[in-house]
Symmetry: C3
Subunit: 213 residues, 3 copies
Amino acid sequence: MNPQGALPASTTLATIELLAVVASAVFGILLACRKQLDPVGVVAVALAAAFGGGTLRDLFLGRRPLFWITHDHYAAIVLVLALFGALVPGFIRRFERHLAVPDALGLALFSLTGAAFAVEAGTSLLIAAILAVITGTFGGVIADVICNEIPALFRSGPLQATCAFAGAWVYLGALRLETPPNLALLLGFVGIVGFRLAALKWNLRLPTASLDP
Amino acid sequence: MNPQGALPASTTLATIELLAVVASAVFGILLACRKQLDPVGVVAVALAAAFGGGTLRDLFLGRRPLFWITHDHYAAIVLVLALFGALVPGFIRRFERHLAVPDALGLALFSLTGAAFAVEAGTSLLIAAILAVITGTFGGVIADVICNEIPALFRSGPLQATCAFAGAWVYLGALRLETPPNLALLLGFVGIVGFRLAALKWNLRLPTASLDP
Amino acid sequence: MNPQGALPASTTLATIELLAVVASAVFGILLACRKQLDPVGVVAVALAAAFGGGTLRDLFLGRRPLFWITHDHYAAIVLVLALFGALVPGFIRRFERHLAVPDALGLALFSLTGAAFAVEAGTSLLIAAILAVITGTFGGVIADVICNEIPALFRSGPLQATCAFAGAWVYLGALRLETPPNLALLLGFVGIVGFRLAALKWNLRLPTASLDP
């Protein structure tokens, strides 16, 4: 099985991946502007948000070159977007309300590449599911850490990591049942996107952990 | 010399390593609960605390696959422990007062693997000692950074990095004097555990650095 | 083309690189003392500041062993300097007012190694320029993040990342125009140092980004 080959190299996928990078970058730009960074900071946080999760995936699995070094047009797009966001007040605001869907698509796509590349590298299923979550969500975590915030991912809010984790298991379980890889990816993809949009719509969340009984 | 082969693959060692992972994870869980994270945050901080130092060691020395990808039962144990810690109030508290010894064992074991793998990779002795400290202590540092705290390791408190550094030199010095690797490891191990427990008992600490004369 | 071979292995270069490491370490020591860390923290922040950018460069490009593992006298120098800084109040203050020039030299040297190694690895020009900035400036970013500060690099202040980015393009543009590698490096070097010193002198800075129109 070759999960990289299994990722359908269609225009649809390329479009979704691009949307995912853009959605992550916009998240980073909005965060950086709220923190009143300068344009350098906006670019840096946007790059961290867009590339952080995939970079950890590639480092942990020993993949070289890193995905953003290969697909270098992603960096160009993030750079232009971040400079516009930093220098033209209000520009990036237009994107904000349309973010939920590309954000969910991005979460699904990034997470599934994490799981698929982990399977390819021969990890166990649990490790593949953990790498799915890291790939799908740690761009935002790194952006939050740089901006001196406790990562929103780790606080009570609409389910996000949980969706990635559950959807990764759908994908991994389907593979185990000898579903064709493309179909397994599709099932995982629909699972993550649907779960995430439901979590946003009905505000599904986990309770805060506490030491007090 | 093959330090990995030199690590005695006995039940004793496996038990100590497991205790080390559990002790680090419990440290992370307690920290995450104090910061009122949700279960996802508790799992993430527990994983970071348990695997952070060894991951840096493996990345810096170019070792693949990462130790937690190979020993995938560690992730399962941390995951279950973190979910119990997050969802069952007071569960993790029972471990807290028994943490000093597994914590010292874990510091010693992780530190010595850092030094041993560095020697195997042909680094200088100083670099090996620095990698010992990073491996033994940076899980906690990463957990603190994620939780938006200045790392406790870097503030005045009972000696920890210093114990790892001193014990690494005991190990490295013994190797230099052509002590058999297993004996050198034992000497370093006893050195770190003893020094750390002494530091906790008598509150040995370094002064705060200051710019004012 | 072999950019590593292209870096002139002269006494001049070795002196500049050493100055760069020392300048970065002094920055880290001052930061750690202001945050009232203990000597372990001062050493750790000094090492992070001196080695952080180059470590990311080596990890992202898959270079092994890491530069500070090869040039192990750098770690010895940083360690001694940090311990003096932590234990002898006022010692490190003597360096502070002389930091601007070695700091600019260090920014230039580290940035150009990032660009040169990226070109060697076959990345696009934009990726090489981004790696130049990361290599030249992320030691300070990591030190700031460890110390729980929003990175100074990302806030409005005298241009720094911008100088590295512009100077990297001078170097990359010169290479494209088939300038001999040593001359291209010299042009980039003069560009970064000159731009940085001018930014400090005339307080050149970018405006703060804001979401409000």
